[in-house]
Symmetry: C2
Subunit: 320 residues, 2 copies
């Protein structure tokens, strides 16, 4: 039987990047880390539960990737540089093949972004993965949700609605129908470099975890503003458009969640600079609308706030 | 129905101390924090699952207290000063009375130790609470598990075996039998000030989460040493001794876990200084044995490593 100490030793000691600023890593009561001078610390935590955030029997490497990716996406939305992670893993029973796959998925993404795994906790219970991610940014450079002003352009990275369609295919047992869609759900690519590049340029930012129709209103509420969107400009995932048609693909983009793209606002006078920087980005960026003073989210041409499909939220799925 | 945003707003915005070094707290994609210059960062994470780490129907305030206490205990074992926490809370359903009780228990302990709650995550699933705690210490002053040398005295704070006996009473539905024991389990007092006072004095330290018989060997293994204990010197919880008798109380102290006292080693030449500092501590400290070069844990007078009862470990409770 694998003890907690063994699991940590066998699978997690090497599940991240090596960093010289880790004074005490995995294996003591807590990690001791050497922060770079003159920076602010950024901390995020996000938990994924089997059956809630991913279907049962999801491949363990994808779970390891996804658990880190959703936190990298949070740091990206702040414009921060990721550095160190801790992991709390709750498993029904220790399973060596599962642990190996999980650690592989986590490790590949951690090394890609230079993240060291510095501590954690392994407990027994229903499968649940919680990652806490720490990183850095220059004081005053944080991209928060507050700061969007009327006249700012509203932008998103990448394509929307692919992950929601992929999840649907997985739940229906049709994962083979469209690989790009299931891949969008299982292997999201956090926009870490783009987030850092937006510092000093974007006026507000948020990452799209629950769907544009839920997350953009959060940004607008924090900024005390509203926005008008052009539905024709939403960058729908091509494979979702092909599979579902325009209307359902658009609904997935607004309400589906799990895209982990960035949504951000840029003052009009900085939009040329944005276009210049975006040339070097790994994914397209699309202007989808404009910030307005009047609260709420409208589609262009409509006077009243749009009736958007609700994003997928915990606790609101069940009745009672 | 309470949404995640509502839960965070209603219960967790005020669930910690106020700190001026929190630039962006709860409610954005990540927290932004201002670290004190010239310190090392210390990070711990510990998760408590219902039915594994505490019995079903445990009062929510005790769960809130305990989830933070076990992490404060980890920071205490490093000699660190706690500062900021994030919380990942997984709930079967939103329950306002439960959330209020939980937040009350968390808040009281957080304010006592000056800890701000700066972020978190609320998900749906079986009850599970994961706290990530961040704090600080001076470079080079961390108390690690490595560092114990032959000749050092082995010490523990407080009394041992009370929490294990309390858990047994709770599981047997006899919580009223001995309030000090159930209290020891439900409301552990992390030894944060003592841990900080041990910096520059102790050669190694660990907190007792799984029982002295499991945790002290971890410290000894990390130090490449062994120890001899005097079983007569173990500071058994008086109420456990009265309820269970000496033999069972001793077994609880060694194998029971959940005491969250500190176990540490002190070089012979520093033992007078320890006695002088301990006068001001809120709980007694007891010398229970001596570090030796030969690996393993022995009881005094025995030549062979003692056959200790196994500490309570996840995954090892179930067979298969």
């Amino acid at each position: 039987m694998l003890s907690e100490d063994r699991i940590i030793h066998n699978y997690f000691r090497t599940a991240g990047a090596e960093r010289s600023d880790v004074c005490v890593g995995i294996g003591d009561d807590a990690a001791v880390l050497e922060p770079p001078p003159g920076r602010n610390l950024v901390a995020a935590v996000d938990t994924l539960n089997e059956g809630v955030h991913f279907p049962a029997a999801t491949q363990p490497a994808a779970i390891g990737h996804r658990a880190l990716a959703v936190n990298l996406s949070d740091l990206a939305a702040m414009g921060a540089e990721p550095a160190w992670a801790t992991l709390s893993l709750c498993l029904p029973a220790p399973d060596e093949a599962w642990l190996e796959g999980f650690a592989d998925g986590f490790r590949a993404l951690a090394r890609q972004h230079g993240v060291a795994l510095v501590g954690g906790d392994t407990t027994r219970g229903p499968l649940s993965v919680s990652v806490q991610l720490l990183g850095w940014l220059r004081p005053g450079e944080a991209l928060t949700r507050a700061g969007a002003k009327p006249g700012d352009g509203v932008y998103v990275t990448g394509h929307l609605g692919g992950a929601a369609a992929g999840l649907r295919l997985l739940l229906e047992g049709r994962a083979s129908t469209s690989e790009p869609l299931t891949r969008a759900f299982l292997w999201p690519e956090p926009r870490v470099a783009i987030g850092q590049d937006l510092c000093g340029l974007a006026s507000a930012a948020i990452d799209l975890s629950d769907g544009l129709g839920t997350d953009l209103p959060r940004l607008l509420a924090a900024s005390g503003a509203g926005a008008s969107l052009d539905p024709e400009q939403l960058p729908l995932a091509p494979a979702a458009l092909a599979l579902l048609g325009a209307s359902a693909a658009r609904e997935g983009a607004l309400a589906g969640g799990d895209d982990y793209e960035l949504c951000f606002t840029v003052p009009a006078e900085a939009e040329d600079e944005l276009a210049a920087r975006a040339v070097n980005w790994s994914t397209p960026v699309t202007r989808i609308g404009c910030v307005e003073a009047s609260p709420g989210l409208r589609f262009s041409g409509e006077a009243e706030p749009a009736k958007l499909p609700e994003g997928w939220r915990h606790f609101e799925e069940k009745g009672s």
